[in-house]
Structure formats: structure tokens, C-alpha cells
Symmetry: C2
Subunit: 490 residues, 2 copies
Amino acid sequence: MSSTDLAATWAGARAIDLWVVLGDPVELVAAVEDGAAVQLVSEPTSFAIFAAMRDADVDDVRRVGIASLHPSGLEAGKRAGVQAVVAVADDPSAIPALLAAEPDAVVKQSEFDSLYALRYGSRRPFRPQVLLNPGPALTSARVKRAAAGIDLCHREPEFTLLERQVISKLRRVAGVGDHWSVVLMSGSGTGAAEAALRAAVRPGRRALVVDNGVYGSRLLAIAQRSGIEAVVCASGWTEPADPERVHELLASDPEIDVVAMVHHETTTGLLNPVEEVAALARAADVRTVVDGISSFGAEELTLEDSGIDFLVCSSNKCLQGLPGAAFVLVSPTGLERTGQVPASSVYLDLAGYLRGTASGSPPFTPAIPALTALDAALDELLTRGSAEHRRRYAERAAVLDDVLEALGLEPIVAAEHRSRTVRAIPLPAGIEYVQLHDALKRDGYVIYAGQGQLSEEIFRVCCMGALEPDTLRTFGERLAAAFDRQPATA
Amino acid sequence: MSSTDLAATWAGARAIDLWVVLGDPVELVAAVEDGAAVQLVSEPTSFAIFAAMRDADVDDVRRVGIASLHPSGLEAGKRAGVQAVVAVADDPSAIPALLAAEPDAVVKQSEFDSLYALRYGSRRPFRPQVLLNPGPALTSARVKRAAAGIDLCHREPEFTLLERQVISKLRRVAGVGDHWSVVLMSGSGTGAAEAALRAAVRPGRRALVVDNGVYGSRLLAIAQRSGIEAVVCASGWTEPADPERVHELLASDPEIDVVAMVHHETTTGLLNPVEEVAALARAADVRTVVDGISSFGAEELTLEDSGIDFLVCSSNKCLQGLPGAAFVLVSPTGLERTGQVPASSVYLDLAGYLRGTASGSPPFTPAIPALTALDAALDELLTRGSAEHRRRYAERAAVLDDVLEALGLEPIVAAEHRSRTVRAIPLPAGIEYVQLHDALKRDGYVIYAGQGQLSEEIFRVCCMGALEPDTLRTFGERLAAAFDRQPATA
């Protein structure tokens, strides 16, 4: 389903249009009151479910649920591939056999209505919405299906194959050759950023941290808490880092071992000139750590021979995978550096991960479902083509800028420094964030608040993930309605 | 499907019994050669797919795949809920529309056979097997389905609801009240262990680390790399920690602030007397950190008023969730301690997570699919009952011990100190691990190697996860065959 259909159809609609009761009767009062059809079927087979679908004029098993008192009914539901498989048991002795059939829930008859309200009803909390927050972003059905793959052991060759596939595809997206190393980690991008910074600075040396947003400040906190002395190159949150100032600081302090900076400051939607800074750092024989968590895959970035030695990324933003995996792309000079820095953490020890990948034995249990989902997301991206993927991000950003301009809204970052994914927009006079957020959420759109010093002043709209340009246009209409005024162009 | 059926039926069998080609013909040579049925259907509807299933006598959509040149065919496959949705495109201009239908793969006609071999064929690397490694363990279909839920934003109330549900269920499994805090983290259990240890020791104080296996040594490495001075209480890998020695060390060193120990040493299958040690620590006003990663849910453990202040666990072992989430249960005195220790990491800052949970705003993007899967796994466990879940683990361990005894195999840990999940077994004379592993894997069973000093001497068999006792009995037969001898009882 396209993101536009998602907004139009799914937000607020019930999850299941047809409930098939297999075997003995079950009362599904909440489903009936919510407008779902119910059919009683005696024969516990998939074909009987398909016949009930035909009778009810429902042609999509993703809109069908089954309820049954019997394991045979649950098994039939699974064979039919229905979306919801609910076991009903008032007799505790029936529970073990029902659980063995692996239904989505086992409830007493009296509990069905509350289960329905939580999971399946038109007002259920967990209903799909158009995510316009800066990750986790919308993902395709394919990516989600890939997370529900087989159970794997991470010491087996099939895991090594998965890992190699993902690493090879990440190199293709990054446009780098096999001489770049790739570290896959479980956790959020911040964990990978901490691992990279800890691995990059030799004892007694310093990190120069570029700080012009919440994530630059986070890099600074990582350095400080990791016992790395930091020199800060701070600037305003809407101004890109100034390479000239970085150059001066590098020239004045020979103890600086690393420059650490954020490519895309999600705080404001600001792009920093990381290639320019990395080239200066390389000229000074200084390594560069770049937080590319919210830019990788969407923005243009040349890594080969750029001076960037550690690029930190995550699975759930512009690559359109699920959250849970993060990774670091490491240049040959970066790899050399990791051999010169003693480990200051067990879990965030980049060198340990590099040794593990080289030996086919990851140091800790990986988040395998996040990796299988990432593998599927990378397949989608590469089937389309990396350049086309980036072009689509640029196209969507242009649509979003048009939508905002039509409403007289001017992002706080100047057009030439804006990313392709995040817009930080001043809240119009008289509009409070919470009311705006809630109004849009009722329409199926999730926007995002400002952070830090901007939390009262702005709202953010992001276009990461499996989103269509048309969805942003429809969102613009809802935003206009939320402001209770028409687009300026109307 | 039960784990026994899994071993008997799935290992080595093809994933798809029926391929339905929707619309124009597609050549599926590899599928035909592998024995799968193929039906050509002109009408791109779910009901046409169901009719083809009836013709082919296949009643389970999980054994059906579709292949199509057309988006309409892919959509029909998704409406029918089939297991595999493959788009075939020789013309690059067709790709965008095919990708929009979110198939599991887009390939050229000439690439189908290699895709088939990788994903769907009877010799595919990613085929289900019975995992007898110490996690990731087998999980139910329900748990895997739960990972493929909707995309959520972690700053929204529905995420807070998910988090609260998981925390409440974890407290129920742990048998503790609301006065215990629960920290949910993304990553492996080791990350959570490092966060707990970093949060537990005040500056200038020491940790007493009990070390009688690889995971005890890992706690020691965490202390050392985190800059925490450690006193070691080491013992042999098959001997439980001696509370008397811990008592002496506590009495002789008033600077000891924390005792850190592993409940279940996965290295050998050894249980440590954590309750006894924690009671001694509490009497000395010393906090206790317990690595319960491979014991939580399976072994008996009383937390309330036990002296245990930090219990570290993960989602993918005895709780039978997917890998990717870890958590720490924190007692009130443990919580107090976290307020007295300055943070020495950003990502592994337990106090930061505690503040985040309290304010409804997790500090970093959580691994949401791992949490939705954990929530489903906890529902399964609690529907059955915590005590019954533990009893089943005890029952299975007894079956495994019987199986091993019948083969004349004696685990290296004495019966009274064995866990309910792991057996470390000396390799019989003349048997090499790799050959044994590979022979069993051909039969669909994944065993595990020894670690560290034991890597050449033992093999491990573990019974975590969604396993039936019968599966262990069948495994025993295959193990006997692999040894090329009959069980001693035969």
C-alpha cells in the first residue's frame, strides 16, 4: 500500500473486515459493533476460510481474522494466511494445546472485546500512520516480512552469508570498494557513534568536535564521558560548520587526532560540509568521524579518498530498514587507527567487531531480524539504484518545500543548506505544538517536536522512509486545515 | 509447527510447494527441477490463486509462492497471503511500478534460478533448523509475526504503551513489584551488562567479580575497560562460585562497592549461587549485579529482598523473543545507586535510560520490532504461566540428560549444579567437533562448540526456545547415529 493510501484509508480504519469463527461459536461483540463482518464456519480448513471470504466479498487475507476454540481452527487460519489468529479459551486446561498452535493471542471469551480494542479496532492505538518524524521511518511490507524470517544461529555459515550480503550491499550504497571495512552492530546509531569515537582517538590526544545541533553536542558528550579531551568548534544551529575555523583549530593544536562531526543535523535539517572538513583533516593527517545516521542513502557524499575514516549510520532512516541495527564504514586509514587505540569498552569496542567480522564470528549475538530487514531494504534500494534513491529523496524534499512555501512557512535553515529529509519550521503565532501534532495525528500523520532550545519554537516535518511525494501534498492540505487557513496559493 | 515436525519435515525440504505464475508466462526452471508444482493463472486475484491451490492440492498459503511480470499479479499474491512474492522484470522501465507493489524480490528472468537456490530451494542456506545453540533460540510463528508489525514513532503514546506493557510483563515474569525499575535497551545482553556495571560502582570504589567462565571473564573485562578497579574471585569452570570466599573478600576489602556475577555460565551450563552471594553482599551493604542473560525465565530466582540490585537479561534466550533487545531489572537500592555514579558512556548510561523511561521519552531510537516480538513472547509465557514455563524448561533438561546418559555421555558439570538449558559434553575419543556438527546439521540440528579453553574438548547442546521434549529425543537418535553407535540402553 502506498503511503498516500495509508493516510487516506488506514488511519482510523479497523484492521480486520471479516472475522471467521471456526468450529464452535465465539461472541465477537466488539468486532460486530465496529462494523466487521462475522461468518461461522464449521470445517477447519483454509478452503473453508476462502469460501467465507468469497461470501463476504473480502478478497484480501490481510483483512481477515479467525477466532476459534480449537487448535484445528487456529491451524486452518495459519494455512489461510489470515492477519489475525485468535484463540478463545475459558477452560485453562485447553490452553497448552492452543498455545502449541501459535495463535496471535489466547483470551477468555470475556476478554475478546478488550483485545479487539487494543489490536484490531478502528480506534486501536497501534494503527498504521504516516510517519513524518526523523526515523523510525515507514518501511515497505517486504522489509517487515523479512524481519519475520527463520531463526538463525549467528555462529553458522548462513549468518556469515547474511552478514557478507549486507556488508557488500552497504559498500555499494556507499560507493566504496572492498578495502573499506564495515562493522555491523546491534543497537541505535548513537551506540555506533560512541564505538567509532572511542576507537579513533589515541591516548593523550584530542578530538575536535564540530557542534551545531543536538547531535553535535551528543558527539561532544560521547567524547567527554569516554575520557577523550575535546576541543569544540561550535556555531549557531542554523549555520553550517565553517571549514576555515576547523582549519585554524587544526593548525593551532597538533594534539588533535580526530575531527568528529555530524553530516546532517536532524535537529534543524542542516547539512554540514563534511567533505570539505574531511579534506582539511586529511591534509593535517587527522582522522575524521562523521555521524551520517540521518543522511546515509539520501544525501550526496563521496567517501573514497575523501578523508572520512569512520562513517556512522543506522538501519532505520534513509535506508528504510527497521530500527535495531547500526553500522560503521571504516576506511583503510581508519582501520589502521583502530589498532592504535586501547579498548575502553567491551560492547562498544569497534576493533573487537572488526576482528569478529574478519573471523566470521561476531563478538555478541547480533540483532538478526534487523539485519534480514536491512538486507531486504538494501535490495529494494539497489534494485532501484542508489542514484535514483537519492534523486527520489531530493524530489520529495522539493515537494515538501513547495508545500510549506504555499502555506507561507519558511524553514529555519536557508534553502542552500537544507537536507533532503528534515524541515524545522517556526510554529506560527498562536499555534501550540501539542495541538498541531494532535490535529494532524487524527488525520493519520505523525509530525515531530523541536529539540533542546527549539522545543517550544518549532515543529519538524521529515520525509524519510517509504513515502510518496503525493503523501506530502495531501499532508500539506491537512496541515493547512490544522492551521485553520487555506494555502497561500489557493 | 512443532520443533519435532520442524526437524522431520522442514530441514532440507523446499520452502514452496506451489508456484503460481500470474499473467504472462515466467520460466521457473529451478523450482520445477526441485519438484515444486507450477500453475499459470491469467486472472490476478486472490481467489484465482486459491483455485490454483485447490487444483494442486496445496492447502497452505505458507507453501505457495507467486511470480509475475505485473504489479497486479504481485498485489494478488499479497492479498492471498502467499509466502513468496517474486517480480520478474527484464525491462528496467518496469521496475519502479513493480517495486511499488513491494514484492520480496525483483529479478530478471535469467536470475530467477539463483534467487530460487538462495531463498526457496531444498538446499537453500536459510532453511529452518532446530537450534540447539544457546540463543538465538527457536521462536514461535507468533513472535516472528509480531516483529513485522506497524511502523511506530518512539516519541508517540503508542510506543509508551508498548514499553509499559513490556515492562509490566517483565516484572510479572521476574516476580517483582512496581518499585523495581526496568530499563529497556537496544542491543545484545552484553551491552546491558556493561551499562549495569558502569552504573553500579561509585568512583574510587571496587567491583568484586566472580569469574568461573567466559561470561564471568567478560564482566571482568567490562570492569577493566570501564576503568573500574576489580577484585577477582576466580574458580574452576565446573565449580559454582563459593559464597564463603565472596564473604571473606567482602570482609577484607571495605572498598568493594559491588559484586558482579553470572547466574548461569553458558560456557559450561553451570549455575552460580547468586541468591546466597547477594544476601551476603546485602548484609555488607554492597550492591549486586547479576548477569541473568541465559537464565531469566528458565531458572528459579527470587529477586524481591534478595540483595540482587541489577539483573541483566536479553530478549532472545529463555524468554523466546527475537534478538535485538536487552533489559536490566533494577531494585530500589540499585536505582538509588545509579544516582551516585557519574555517567562514563552516552549509549551505555543506565541512569539516562531510567530518566527516559520515567519521562516517556527513550534516549535513543529503540529496536521497536524486537520489543513487539518480546511483548508477544511474554504474552505466550504468561498465558502459560511463569511457573509452568520454568517447569517445562526443567522437564526438557531432564529429557536431555536422559538422552545423553543413554549414550554414555556425562556433562562436565555435576548434576546438582546444572542449568535447565545448557550441557557441555566432552567429545568422545576420535570424534571431532566439526564433523559432529556437520553430521547433525545435515539432519536439521544445530549444536554449539565449546568456548575458550574448552573449544577443542567439548560440544554443547542447549534447550532454550520453542522446543518440544520429543525433539530432544529425536535429536538423541541422530546424535547416536552421528557417533555411529547405538544408545547404550538399546
